[in-house]
Amino acid sequence: MNQRKIVLVFLIFFGTYSVDAQVRFFTKSGVIRFYSKAPLESIEAVNKSGTCVLDTKSGLVQFSILMRGFEFKKALMQEHFNENYVESNKFPKAEFKGQVLNNPTINYGKEGSYIANVKGRLSIHGETKEIETKGTVLITGGKITINADFNILLSDYKIEIPSLVKDKVSNSVKISTSCPLDILKS
């Protein structure tokens, strides 16, 4: 009886700690790129310091990036991006809070590449919109890498394009994310 109790207590502690330690994966160096292809100009930028957390148990996934962290090929583009389009000082962050819909079908303990259907809310420029996309979860050597590509419309996020630059800035922007995640040690 006493022995059983100890075993039970042990199991309880072991159970909770192992859950706590292994379900969450994160990175602070997630790579987020975007591409805009307009007739006169292609715009491309990259942010290499995105924060991303994945909870493998619940399938919750979350991104947060600083808009000022986007780097462009041209300094002036970067300036205009921050100043005139996304208004980085008013809206410093972009965030995504979502859920892997088919989370139970992904075996995080087994190496492989899995398709993940993700649905959630994306906030940019103070506007929040529901988005849904198909990404991949790649598991190799205890590491998880998540990738996803999707398109957004700037008009959905109230990012205005002046008529003068209609041929240079496209309303449809492709966003591509790639985050190698590590186990979160708390």
């Binding site: 909770t16 919750l60 979350q62 000022r68 300094a75 003068l164 979160l184």
Partner: protein
């Protein structure tokens, strides 16, 4: 047995509930990772590297070539016969280049006195926020000018150094908000040769530059250089008021001013009209930037 089972159940619940509660929260990042505040530079204090005539605390950026075409016209008061001064134009064509984000240099030539000028500009301190931040930007500018018109006085020996002038300034500027920027810049101008013993070779002025942003792409700008000492006789303090209009890679600066000179030596020591007596000219600065060196680090 039943009692102990109950206790174990309670422990189990107590032990696990907080874990699940954490899992349920939708803000994973906020609950798990504390964001450390980072130092961030303040950008876009002005739209251009010049307020109007004088340098601003803004830089054009590394690897960027700024082609600047400046015009100053005649007095608006000349009326319709002279198309409000537009019939006479004085021009400066210039090239600025950014060697780094904090260091740039430029050359230019003005039709006025057929003058060549060049400058170097260095940012000592950059306004920022967050840990270790600075409330102001400090910029140092030094320049030289040489006029190349025919030697006017045949009785005096024509030596090169007589045509040379220098200026040095330190600009202290702060972007107080998106709406308002102010900078103060003590400027020292030295001319090797002047036209009268009554005047001084050395002139001190205080540059006051300010921007009021009206919309995302339009701003009101003011550029005033009161001369503090060594004022040349029959000259006035240069005052310019205008608008910056930004369209893609261009910045148009349209303004009204009493100054014709388009380098520091010239507009500080040789502004011949009084703004308040109506000696006002229309002028514009056109700036077009070209990115010569694109950043490589964003490639996949």
């Amino acid at each position: 047995m039943q009692k102990s089972f109950l206790i174990i159940t309670v422990i189990t619940l107590l032990g696990t509930i907080p874990v699940y509660a954490q899992n349920d929260t939708t803000d994973l990042i906020a609950s798990m990772i504390q964001d450390k505040p980072v130092k961030q530079y303040i950008t876009n204090a002005f739209k251009s590297s010049r307020v109007i005539n004088g340098h601003s605390i803004e830089f054009i950026g590394k690897g960027v070539l700024d082609v600047r075409i400046l015009h100053r016209f005649g007095y608006v008061s000349e009326g319709f016969g002279n198309l409000f001064g537009l019939d006479e134009a004085s021009m400066r064509m210039g090239l600025d280049y950014g060697l780094s984000n904090n260091f740039s240099l430029g050359i230019g030539r003005s039709t006025n006195k057929k003058e060549l000028d060049g400058f170097i500009k260095y940012r000592v301190l950059r306004q920022s926020e967050g840990p270790g931040s600075s409330p102001v930007s400090i910029v140092w500018v030094s320049g030289i000018s040489v006029y190349t018109t025919k030697w006017a006085d045949p009785l005096r020996k024509n030596i090169f150094s007589s045509r040379v002038g220098y200026y040095h300034e330190i600009i202290f500027g702060r972007k107080f908000s998106n709406f308002f920027t102010l900078q103060l810049a003590p400027v020292y101008v030295h001319r090797n040769l002047i036209d009268s013993v009554k005047n001084s070779n050395d002139t001190w002025a205080l540059g006051i530059g300010s921007r009021i942003k009206i919309s995302k792409r339009v701003a009101f700008v003011m550029d005033y250089h009161p001369v503090l000492s060594g004022k040349q006789s029959a000259t006035y303090n240069p005052l310019s008021l205008g608008f910056d209009i930004e369209t893609g890679g261009h910045v148009f600066q349209l303004h009204f001013s009493n100054a014709t000179g388009m380098n520091e030596k010239e507009f500080i020591t040789n502004t011949r009209g009084s703004f308040w007596k109506g000696d006002i000219r229309f002028g514009f600065n056109l700036s077009r930037v070209f990115t010569l060196k694109k950043r490589a680090n964003i490639a996949q």
